[in-house]
Structures are given as C-alpha cells and as structure tokens.
Symmetry: C2
Subunit: 324 residues, 2 copies
DNA sequence: TCGCATTGTTGCCATTGTGACAACAATATA
DNA sequence: TATATTGTTGTCACAATGGCAACAATGCGA
C-alpha cells in the first residue's frame, strides 16, 4: 500500500468516521487501517485525525487533506473510465444499481441476455429503492425513476412510465366504474408509499389545461410495488400504478384501466444514470441490451396494454425516446 | 508499487521517452519498469505505448492516460505541499534550484546560515543557468533572473539587479573615459552570452524618454559571469555586467562604473520562484534567510558600490522591494 | 456509579509479492 | 555486417506487508 492508497484509505475513514467500518469496506484488518493512517501522518508530518478510542474528528489539516483525497479519487476514477473508453471488446466487471421493482423485472432480464453475449464480464446487480452515491460506491450504471438535478451524474432517458389507475373487472362490477374524479375519490385505493412519502395526491390536467389534484381514499399503502398490482387483482380496491408494474394482468382480463380520459401528470420516467459523459464500452453495450428489453420506441409495458395509444391519447408524449 | 505509482512511472517513461532513463530517474531496475508498465496496461485493459526495442511512441489511449497521470502528479504534489503548510516546525528536505552565479555567491551563503538555524532539514542545491521544470523535477524553490510568464509558477521579486558598464582605471586612462554612446561603442567590450543568445545590443532611455540601443563592439563573450568581471579588471576591455556580479572590485578601485548617466533598461531582476501560492514553512523560512543575505531594502551588491544611488539617480526604481 | 462492549493500538509472525540479476532478443548506427 | 543499446522474460531471495491476538481506553446503558 503506497502513499496514494493511504490517502484513499484516509478518505474512507473520514467519510465513515470510523476505522472499523473503513476496514470492513476495504476488506482489511482494523490494525492495517490504524498503521497506515499513522504512516500517512508521518509522511505528511501532520496529524490528520483527533482520535480517542471511541470517537474521532478531523483536524484542520485533515480537512484540507480530505479535499485533496477526494480530488485524488476523482482523478483515479476518471483515469480508469478513460481507459475503458478505449476498450474494443468489453471486459472487466459491471456494477449496476437499480430501483427494486424495475431491477427485478427488467434489469435482471437484461443482465441474463448481456451475460450470454459477453460471458467474460462479471456483473454485480444491487437493487435498492433509496438513492445511493453511485460514485462513492463505484457503480458503473444506475437505473432510477425521476431525475435528480443536484448531482454531477449524467442522466439519460430510457423510457416513459405513465401513471395508470387499474381495478379488477369484479371490483368494477360491484362498485361501478368511476367516470368522474368525484366518483373515483369515493373508491378505496392502494398507493405506493415509501420512507414516509405517501403518494395519495395526484396531479392531473383538466381539459382546459389547468392543474388539479385527485385525493384518493387510500386504504392500503405499500412500498412493495407488486403488492399494488396484487391488491387490485384481488378485487378489494383500485390501484394507482405505473405502467411498468403491470405484467399480463390486463391482457389476461384480471385488471382493467379506468379513468383513462384523465390526463395524469407524467411520473417516474426511467433514466439510466452514470458517472461520466464518456461511457465505457461495457456500459454502452448494456444500455443497448436493456433498451432492447424494454423496447426501442414503445416501452414493453405499454405493449402489454391493448390499445394503449388510443386509451391514453390525450397525454403528452415525452420529448424523446432514446434509440440506442 | 500500486496502481498510482505505476501511473506516475508511466508518466516518467512517457516524458523521458525511454524505459532505461525512467528507471534511472526512479532508481530502480529496468526490468521493473517493463513489468510495471505491462501490469498497468493489463489493469487498464489498453496498450499505452507502442514500443520496438529501440524506439517508443504513445498510443492514442496512452496520450489520454498521460494527461490523467499529469493531473495525478499535480494532485499528489499539492497534497504534500498543503500538508507542509501545516507544519509548525520546519522538517523534511528542501530542493533548491538557482542560476549559477547567483547560486554560488548568494544562495550558497543563505544555505549555510539556514542549516545553522534548522539543522534537521536536508538541503539540495542545484545550480544551472538553463531553465528547468521546477514541478517535474520536484524543486521547492528556484532563483531566477527575469520573469517567465508561460508557466504556472509563482514569482516573487527578491531584489533589483541593474545593468552597469564597468572598466578598470588603467583601461580608462589609456583609452579615455567614454562620455557619449558613440564613444562607448568604439571601445572593446565583454558581454554575457549563452545558448546562442548574444547580448550585444542594450536598450536605454534617452533623456526625452525615447528608447535607443547601444551596439557594443564585442570582443569577448562568455557565459561565465565572473569572467566578465575578470576581463574588465585585467584592463583590456570594458564589461557590461549586472550589479550582482560585482564583489569588491569597485571598493578596491579595480573597477570604475562608467556612463552612469545612461538610463539602461532594467534587466535581470531576481525572482524567487515556487510551484504554488501557499508556501510551506521550510520554504518561507529560507526566503527570509536569503532576503537577509541579499539585503532587505537595498541589495547587498549595490551597497558595495559607493554612492550607487547618486550615480544612477536617473533610473527608475522597481515598483516594490519585498520585505519579508 | 459501575460494568460491558466497542473501538483503536501494538507487537509478533508467516506469507506473498517485489524488485534485482542475468541471459536474451531486437534494432539502429557505424 | 558488427556492435552497442534497449526492452523483455524467467528465476530467486528477501523484506515489507497485512493478519492475528492481546491490550487499552472510553462511551453508554443499567
């Protein structure tokens, strides 16, 4: 472990505020960390960390060096990335992060096809709905719904993913098919909810273009998206879902889209996210594969809804669907 | 040797265009270099250098990686520098580069005093008149005459160093003391010359402020500055020298300044040069010492010329003399 | 207030990766 | 064509490195 590696180790320690957890992240022994940090402090001739056995804080010098260590990490990451851009055949490994549902249903499928095409690449797929730091955790690609402007990441639109309201035919027969917002708001509904953010209010555009909101009568909220579909199929309530959550339930007659004339605000467009404008070959190829999986022009989930274009004709189409 | 060290090694190889000389600079075996470059190429998955046994060139990928390697070196250098700025007592080593004459006569003296004050610092002083890359060669301080705008270095004015015309009393008695430029141009002269740049034309300002040039009758040119003094003392010619070249020759009556009413354009102000705005303590202290050596307000060499201020009263004074 | 568990430190030791050496191969120059 | 220079490769001894385990310090909870 050289000077540079020590700096990166220090960065880890500072970011996790703990020798022990830094050691775990780097998969080395605690004692290593202690020794290397000492060595680094000797090399630099300054104390970087004030540490008692139970707590630690950066010295003022440590703060400055931390900034440098971050720059260092950036340079090294970009160097590796640059190199990968020159690859003529894909190689190495691919670390992918995705939201859970999309990951299970689509990324997973793409991974299988990708591995068949390029078996020499080892893939790691991690699914989690909470936002993670792609750079710090060294992911090559992320798949997210919605755009997050604060980061330095690059976002590329993959496919639109419209909001639908669905219910089982059985349910509709019993409770009546809602024709107006007022009727809709009477019916029991299942909605997605996560981390305290409850989605019970949905923006839509009235025919004159004005914004309005639907306040649903929420009786079931879950962060398990398949649960929403199941809840609707079971027939006790209607569900607000995105098109990508629907498998064959509509084709098989288990679910029926309702209130299709309502122009619900667009929601949850899928993006591929990556840490740098220049994509390495291996990542570029993966995007190609997943684009095939989810459909080039029309997302596969819309193809599973008969007459989707006609049903939802009054909705605005996203500006551009990427063709790889 | 880790990934980073390999990148820096690659940088060395690319800059010196040779495995062998890179090995010498890094003080390692040739075979090391070969192996490490191979390893780096494997890690990056790309070929960096096209090499035959006798020649080498960068690949296009190598060119990009080279840029990154340079960034890397910068970050690491700045990190070390930052750390040194936090030192409360001077430590480590000090690498100094200086022009030959100034180095022998003044830096040398400062080094001795400095070592007496801070014996724990090891000093390396390299004298050479040709410009060197302070950053690539890892110098902490450089002493140069004249300002070079192209680089990213920081320049700090140390002392003015005026151009004088001197001759021995003996010579002046035999050939007459020149009173006008025309007379001056008749007399044989010794001037400084180096690397093909012959300094036989000197700009001066006439009393009305207009620029003019003196074309000397050069009979001796040398890059050995002490030789100019000696030539004048010997009495066969006059010499154009800078004030810093004169030791006690004028005090001892061996040389006499002539044409002191001519307002020769300022030339060769001494600068301290360093790679970054923030100076480490050890460097700051050295600048303090050398400033003491060469004089705080009036350069020591001017103090060795009686009535300097009166003789050269009509010359413009440099904007600011730095007081440490 | 006391005890426990967590966390950083230190000394010791086996292992592994490292760099030196030397022979080889290739090519530019004389 | 011969020679010297320069990059490559295989082998081997050795030292630095990182893991282990015991230790020390301290914050938190009971």
């Amino acid at each position: 472990m050289g000077f540079t590696e020590r700096l990166l180790l220090f960065l880890r320690v500072a970011e996790s505020k703990s020798f022990t957890s830094a050691a775990e992240q780097m998969q080395v022994n605690r004692s290593m960390v202690s020794k290397q940090i000492h060595k680094l402090e000797n090399e630099l001739g300054i104390r970087l960390l004030n540490r008692t056995t139970r707590s630690m804080s950066l010295t003022s010098a440590g703060n400055e060096i931390l900034v440098q260590a971050k720059r260092l990490r950036t340079v090294l990451d970009e160097t590796r990335l640059q190199a990968q851009c020159f690859h003529t055949k894909p190689m190495g490994s691919l670390r992918i992060n995705s939201t859970c549902h999309f990951g299970r249903h689509y990324v997973q499928k793409a991974v299988v096809q990708y591995q068949k095409l390029y078996p020499e690449i080892s893939i790691e797929l991690r699914l989690e709905d909470k936002m993670v730091d792609l750079i710090a955790e060294n992911f090559d690609l992320g798949f997210r719904t919605g755009y997050s402007a604060d980061s330095s990441l690059i976002y590329r639109e993959l496919a639109r993913n419209r909001l639908l309201i669905v219910a089982s035919p059985d349910f509709l027969q019993r409770r009546g098919t809602p024709q107006s917002v007022a009727e809709l708001e009477q019916l029991p509904a299942a909605v997605y909810s996560s981390n305290g953010s409850l989605m019970d209010k949905f923006k839509y555009y009235e025919s004159n273009g004005e914004e309005s909101y639907i306040h649903l009568n929420v009786v079931y909220k879950t962060n398990e998206q398949d649960g929403l579909i199941e809840a609707a199929v079971t027939g006790n309530m209607l569900s607000v879902v995105t098109a990508s959550m629907i498998n064959n339930e509509i084709l098989e007659g288990k679910l029926v889209p309702v209130m299709t004339h309502i122009n619900l605000a667009d929601f949850g467009t899928f993006y591929a996210v990556y840490p740098h404008r220049d994509l390495p070959l291996k990542s570029r190829l993966f995007l190609g594969v997943i684009q095939k999986v989810i459909g080039e022009r029309v997302p596969i989930w819309e193809q599973r809804i008969p007459d989707f274009e006609k049903l939802y004709v009054n909705r605005s189409v996203p500006s551009a669907l990427i063709s790889s």
